[in-house]
Symmetry: C2
Subunit: 332 residues, 2 copies
DNA sequence: TACGCTGCGGAAATCGATTTCTGACTACAG
DNA sequence: CTGTAGTCAGAAATCGATTTCCGCAGCGTA
């Protein structure tokens, strides 16, 4: 490998001068500067980033810790983050935690030993890794979920409002027996969306019936099972509000398997958009989150946090958007 | 930050001994060893990965250069890669090239300066970055596409065979005027799938008609436009074979917009599975690629390549799988 | 003329770990 | 009792850049 010393020797200057020419952080005699550039080109010199990182005590890596890149919600979010990272000169390290606190903690540990510049993280239920990172004062942005007792920049979505809007839309369509499949009790988004559901019922003068609510695991299989159990009720629901994309898909599969159709047999509104929702027939009504924007905003916050570590933490809340399609058509 | 020197001082040994205790690469007096461990715990010492990387002249980073993580094909592939990386002690840096050779080259350059351990790359049309990396002898695995003149491990899919199977299935359904929307001429997968299409026609005794073939850009808009142009033919096609997922979606959107339905007005087979293809009504017949497996295989090859750099390059070709669903139902 | 200030290049310290080299000590064979 | 091989701890070199510190030269001002 050619080093800065090789370049220095070749161009008859000291390594310090080479460094100064390349970083442009100090004036250098144009003649020497030219010689250095020539030597760099001739030797095809490429600085060693690791050595630079060591000296500078920082890297240009951001970690993004999410539960699963295959979930379209995170896919798009990561893309938004990567676009910011790229323009700001960072690289993104992808970390799939699979909702496993141990994996989250392992990644957090890697963030620290590898001296990464910052982290964007969607916390698992116990947020083990978040605690470690907070303690180490690593620049960190929480996305999607809040964590009790941790002061950090966050990018959230107005889950309660979004859920309310989705459920209100069903009520306005004439549905009154509306079921809800939400996520685990320990996850803030699950509880917020449930709260939104209840608020909408209240607004519509409908009594809350806890038999119509299921807490599943935010996964496809969980949505499927929850739907099955709802259909076994003596008086099955007329409509369903499902609190994330995977559980919505699971519920739809359950309906398909039973030969039931939306909205004729049961109307459906799902939280989270799914790709090509328009192509699904009947097309799915969703409470869409601005996922790309979520990632982009997280990136911008992280950049600011790194630039001014002392700044008090800020929380950005983005709005959801109700995409009315066919599965929520009003009652005939 | 606490360093190995702090630990050494605290436990009354030399830094060398601390290093040996922690790496376990040499026998150390159990008593000293115990002292070191105690000091590590007390000081909450965490080795500095950057310093280690510098000394060892290698990092534990893999780059994965793909065109767009939002394309489900790559999403799943990246997940497969990350799973291998995790078990092998590597981290994955995500690089979206957007099919732009300049971006690809920029990422290749970053791979070199950051001393990443290896790269998994889906080359853009001119493969600028691949050339740079090949020249630098960086451990590299090509995925999805071949590159002329570059000897490297590759993981490919039997594109020609998959395309043949998909088109043959249409022929068996009684369709004879079958159109094909494929990708750019410079991309190997586009040409291989076109070759498969032609082979199937030949096998079915159907004359190849170049008016029924469109070269688009592998994107949604391109598929849409290509479909429009096919529908404007004096005698429009009875069936369509589209050579990737995004163009298939674009074509379907075009059909939807015109009020045409598959398979009644035009039968459709698409290359690449799409998520929840079963939920789309009518459900889409696809030539599915083993995308997760593709990423996993690439990871395993990369691991081997790093372990034994001298080994001659190997190519793994995986099989596609025809998923017969509704859009290709036989002609009545 | 003397003094101070500025601009710029080079020597050397520095970042924090790993690893080579050296020397002390032990054990065992002759 | 001596010589040799083997173990293991510590001193110091090392990875490759950046940056501090120092010294020299040139210029302006009193």
């Amino acid at each position: 490998m050619t080093t800065i010393y090789d370049v220095a020797r070749r161009s008859g200057v000291s390594p310090a001068t080479v460094s100064r020419v390349l970083s442009g952080r100090r004036n250098v005699d144009p003649e020497l500067s030219e010689k250095v550039r020539a030597a760099v080109a001739e030797l095809r010199y490429r600085p060693n980033g690791v050595a630079r990182n060591l000296r500078k005590a920082s890297t240009n890596l951001w970690a993004v810790v999410i539960s699963d890149i295959e979930n379209p919600f995170f896919t798009s979010l990561v893309r938004g983050l990567e676009d910011v990272a790229q323009t700001e000169g960072y690289h993104v390290v992808l970390c799939n935690s699979d909702e496993d606190p141990a994996k989250e903690a392992a990644y957090a540990s890697a963030v620290l030993t590898e001296q990464m510049a910052g982290v964007v993280i969607s916390p698992t239920s116990t947020a083990d890794g978040v605690q470690v990172l907070a303690e180490a004062k690593t620049p960190m942005v929480l996305i999607d979920r809040r964590v009790e007792g941790v002061e950090a920049d966050s990018v959230l979505v107005d889950n309660e409002h979004g859920a309310t809007e989705g459920v209100r839309h069903l009520i306005e369509g004439g549905y009154r027996r509306i079921a809800c499949i939400t996520g685990p009790r320990r996850v803030s988004t699950a509880m917020d969306r449930l709260a939104g559901y209840r608020a909408a019922l209240r607004g519509g003068g409908i009594r809350y019936d806890k038999d119509l609510v299921r807490h599943a695991d935010f996964r496809e299989a969980g949505g499927f099972a929850a739907m099955e159990s709802l259909l076994e009720l003596g008086e099955p629901p007329e409509a369903l509000f499902a609190a994330n994309n995977l559980m919505t898909v699971g519920a739809l599969e359950c309906l398909a398997k039973r030969g039931l159709r939306a909205p004729d047999d049961i109307a459906v509104v799902g939280f989270d958009d799914i790709p090509w929702a328009d192509l699904v027939v009947p097309s799915l009504t969703t409470v869409a989150q601005p996922t790309y924007e979520l990632g982009r905003t997280a990136g911008l916050l992280l950049k600011d946090r790194i630039a001014s570590p002392g700044r008090p933490p800020s929380t950005v809340t983005l709005r959801t958007e109700l995409h009315i399609r066919s599965t929520s058509a009003p009652k005939p």
